[in-house]
Symmetry: C2
């Protein structure tokens, strides 16, 4: 663990938190009651739900209290969320309804949660979502939005950003209006996540914490959240002392604390290189981080050793030969995308990071994947 290297400055980030949260098995049953006071006349509530639930009617649809004009929109998460996808959903809602919705309720993993945050912003702000990728570009308050995670690990339920692939870049809409107004943490909702996805998404939290706790940007606020998330990940993925119910509840909290730790910290080498991979090959975030992190023993020796143990315990086989057919041109693009994320490298390796890593270092790692 890095020690707290907090800089005395007079410009600390004022961090918005989710103002209301309910936690508990079965708490999803309270959704109707929770949103009722936000209903504005006939303006509908729109539920954005991962399309994997489309066929599982008993699990979700029967429990959603649709009234009058309310609607469920199923959203595919086959690919990482795009600004064009946000624009399409917003256009559909505007076409179908005379009134701005009373609220958006996102039910799914990180992709659905990020899409839901973005849609709620774009319903009250003009133009395309791509115009708001960056920091504090949003001018108008979003419509009321609720996050209901059904996969845990990304921290999207509590973060101040949305990760979106736009026409020009993969970058979040990072603003004070982004966080959910309400989050419902019901551990029962994550019990049926397929094992590989459970592992890769949980590792999103684990890897994030290893990177931020080893980083130079940390303060005591983020350190305390990151340490707790990391401890929970080890309890869940290394020890075998938890029941499935306990492990689900704790993973939900690991994701929550991991998301909170982002406030005053930064990710590192695995995220930078994973972005490069995603940019060229479209590799999804969770598995991409795992593929890269597995080869980063030089940078995070203890974290990678524990990761390998976790893989072994849960019988996870990462894809191999991921970059076998990658051309030299593609490799150059990957490398340059990764190296362009300067704050991540500075956090990981210090201000003199350019003396420690270069295009050749990265190409060698990419070729080994």
């Amino acid at each position: 663990m890095a020690t707290t290297s907090e800089v005395y400055t007079s410009n600390h980030r004022n961090f918005p938190m989710v103002p209301k949260v309910v936690f508990g098995r079965g708490s999803f049953n309270q959704v109707g009651e929770i949103i009722s006071c936000e209903r504005k006349g006939i303006a509908p509530f729109i539920y954005l739900i991962d399309s994997v639930f489309e066929k599982n009617i008993t699990f979700i649809e029967d429990r959603i209290p649709l009234s009058s004009t309310d609607e469920i929109i199923y959203v595919s998460t086959a690919e990482e969320p795009k600004t064009s996808q946000v624009d399409e959903i917003v256009a559909k809602i505007k076409k179908d309804y005379q009134y701005t919705p009373s609220g958006i309720i996102g039910i799914g993993g990180g992709s659905i949660l990020d899409l839901s945050k973005a849609v709620s912003i774009m319903l009250t702000n003009p133009g395309s979502a791509s115009e708001y990728q960056g920091w504090d570009l949003v001018k108008n308050k979003a419509v009321f939005h609720v996050g209901v995670p059904t996969i845990s690990g990304t921290g999207a339920e509590v973060s101040r950003t949305t990760v979106l692939t736009g026409p020009e870049r993969k970058l979040g809409i990072n603003s004070d209006f982004t966080p959910f107004d309400q989050v419902i943490l019901d551990p029962e909702l994550i019990k049926d996540v397929p094992k590989d996805q459970w592992f890769y998404t949980g590792m999103d939290c684990y890897i994030h914490c290893v990177e931020s706790l080893h980083g130079t940007y940390l303060n005591a606020f983020s350190q305390s959240y990151g340490e707790k998330a990391l401890d929970l990940c080890k309890e869940i993925f290394v020890s075998n002392s938890l029941s499935k119910e306990e492990a689900d509840a704790k993973l939900m909290m690991a994701s929550w604390h991991g998301g909170m730790s982002i406030a005053y910290s930064q990710v590192g080498v695995a995220h930078a290189m994973s972005y490069g991979l995603a940019y060229v090959l479209g590799t999804k975030h969770g598995i991409g981080n795992c593929i890269v992190f597995d080869k980063l023993g030089k940078y995070y020796p203890e974290g990678v050793a524990v990761f390998k143990k976790m893989k072994e315990i849960h019988g996870i086989s990462l894809p191999v030969g991921v970059c076998a057919d990658v051309t030299e041109d593609q490799l150059n693009i990957m490398t340059s995308v990764a190296l362009s994320l300067e704050p991540l490298w500075e956090n990981a390796l210090g201000t003199d990071w350019k003396s420690k890593v270069n295009a050749d270092t990265l190409k060698e790692i990419y070729r080994s994947l």
Copy 2:
């Protein structure tokens, strides 16, 4: 540690969180900027500040950006906060100003933070603060209120209640409108707390966590926050590896996480008995908890052993003979106040707590203090 004994119910508490927080050394310098967007014309900001700072002009007053009609009110914390004290401050503000204030900024320890939350509520709700002691009795949103802790441990900066002594009872104003709209966590502000007060207030957090983690009311949300707060307390008060700056920053986070852990947990034997002590002798909360907890080895063996070690490391001598001059009548009142707090006993000892503890058990402990 108790394991998570979470009950599957469809009525989990929807918990309000502080929606904005800034953390960092020197972050208090941002107060003017942070509150500026909440200023409503000539309606003042009122600063409620612990009177111990009245003579320390360079530390606080020089750094407060008073504009036009803004005012500082110094408040004594010689006694635990009272509903009558809240009513007096509200009456003064209403007499002095034509407009409802733009906001209340509380700067101090748990007492000042609780008073500030209560004053901000009573500026927009009619009657006396004593009429709102209880759960969800507040009807109108409070005025914008900011909490700036200068002592850490109570968790008052993040909790949904205010602990107030009223004409009839000591009970908080527990409502969704109680939490601060903004908290400023500047570890530099707690650096000069006198050692005894630093210890007793830190132990408020420690004892709370021991009680809640051993309780039967816990779920994974509160467990994760409580465990982190407890780990930080041990790091601060047992290990000697931290610099003063690191320890201050971590204590601020221990208090924060301890306060968050209250959401779905309950305190236990020490708090119940400490309330009895406070009711009869006026013993302040922090030291009262320590005096009682020191004698509770039977109920919290590991927690009390670590507590005794902490006392030794920091050379803390608890008052002795506290109940030496207490009459039998006073002892009866103490005992009956303590036993009336049924949820605390049920949390600590289970639903059959009455078979495990009675008035005689408590009197014996009180006499030993």
